[in-house]
Symmetry: C2
Subunit: 234 residues, 2 copies
């Protein structure tokens, strides 16, 4: 073994992979707004300008991060390959989407980054292609498959926009002027009472995200199945 040991190398050189991995670390720790070129460089023990040798710009970092997240989804669900025979398309689609969701839950900032891409990432395309393939082999025609992709939307990747949900870390402050709201929002108040009654533990974060996600997902999958069964058999 010929190794040059002349003075221990202080750090291994940068690379696109290390930059992207660090970017995910920084976002995991401090959220997406913590991911700045200068902050990322500091996290790597390097100057901000050094990053530009390995990535074109910040957008390229976002692109690479999305690729990495989708790759993690691929590991989670065992690849995007479409099986030759699909007996239960609903089960297979649900398995993939809930797997994607598990990954997204580890990187809660990811939806915002994914949505911010103007051109669809090739890896995302491969993921969606897998979903579409499962549906086609499961009895969809292409037209219904197309509708299905749109109906799922971002839910295909395991997330959905919740208008009632605050950002992680910033809990909703419902208490504040609840007094005056009660008379103007009787239905909301009534709903909250029922929900809190069902689950008295939950005080502030009064919704079970996982349950709600599955509820909506099942509605969509059921609706698609009904329309699949209505297809003319050729």
């Amino acid at each position: 073994m010929v190794t040059k040991t002349k003075s221990q190398p202080k750090r291994e050189p940068l690379s696109r992979e290390r930059v992207l991995a660090a970017a995910i670390e920084v976002a995991d720790e401090g959220g997406i707004e913590a991911l700045t070129m200068r902050g990322l460089a500091e996290h790597l023990g390097v100057e901000a300008m050094s990053l530009y040798y390995h990535v074109a710009n910040k957008e390229a970092i976002f692109d690479g991060v999305v690729d990495a997240i989708v790759a993690e989804i691929g590991e989670e669900i065992g690849g995007f390959e479409v099986p030759e025979k699909v007996d239960d398309w609903q089960a297979e689609i649900r398995r993939r989407i809930l797997g994607a969701r598990a990954v997204i839950m580890r990187h809660k900032w990811a939806p915002e980054v994914i949505e911010s891409r103007t051109i669809i990432a090739p890896t995302v395309m491969f993921y969606m292609h897998g979903l579409l393939g499962v549906m086609i082999e499961g009895g969809f025609d292409y037209d219904l498959g197309h509708h299905a992709m749109h109906a799922l939307g971002s839910r295909a990747l395991g997330f959905s926009q919740e208008l009632f949900e605050p950002e992680p870390g910033q809990e909703q402050e419902v208490e504040q002027d609840l007094e005056e709201l009660i008379e103007h929002l009787p239905y909301i108040v009534g709903m909250m009472e029922v929900i809190q009654h069902d689950d008295p533990e939950d005080t502030v974060g009064w919704c079970d995200d996982e349950t709600e996600f599955r509820f909506a997902l099942d509605i969509i999958l059921d609706g698609l199945e009904a329309r699949r069964q209505a297809l003319p058999t050729t």
Copy 2:
């Protein structure tokens, strides 16, 4: 009439309302990234710092803009009042949501701003309250109503995240390396061929957003109706 006409006033004074109206104008014209404090001030013929006399900061502008958009939705659908008797909850919900969508279509940057709010705007709360009220009066119990609000998510306000859709102005460039994609993405390619066959006019923007939005909305409404009918009658 005693009016002081000593030298024509060059411009009417600023106000919170004028700032917010101008903010919407700027975003309508140049997108949300064009909405900067300096740019907004220039649009108003004023210095950037003057804005801070009327709004606390940029976040407050975003908050106000969301309020204004929801107010516009209110005008579009004739208010958020819940009728005492709801015969066809699906029709009423669909009417409100498609009205909201019409407004969002005029302000395509609005979804991003709405999603960026960490605390739910009071006006948004009123809008959602109206939807919930229609459902309750239409035969939902509070638990199903709660599920429904989550299942609709941002679709309640007339938009949904389309992973395949590029930002307005930046068309998807599918042509680029389509050659190599064909062999890896047979299902996507097959789907595109069928879709283009159905609608040969559409070359690049190959999806009818309105149709897809209604398709997904109907699936959700149908699913909710099925679950409503399954409720125990009390």
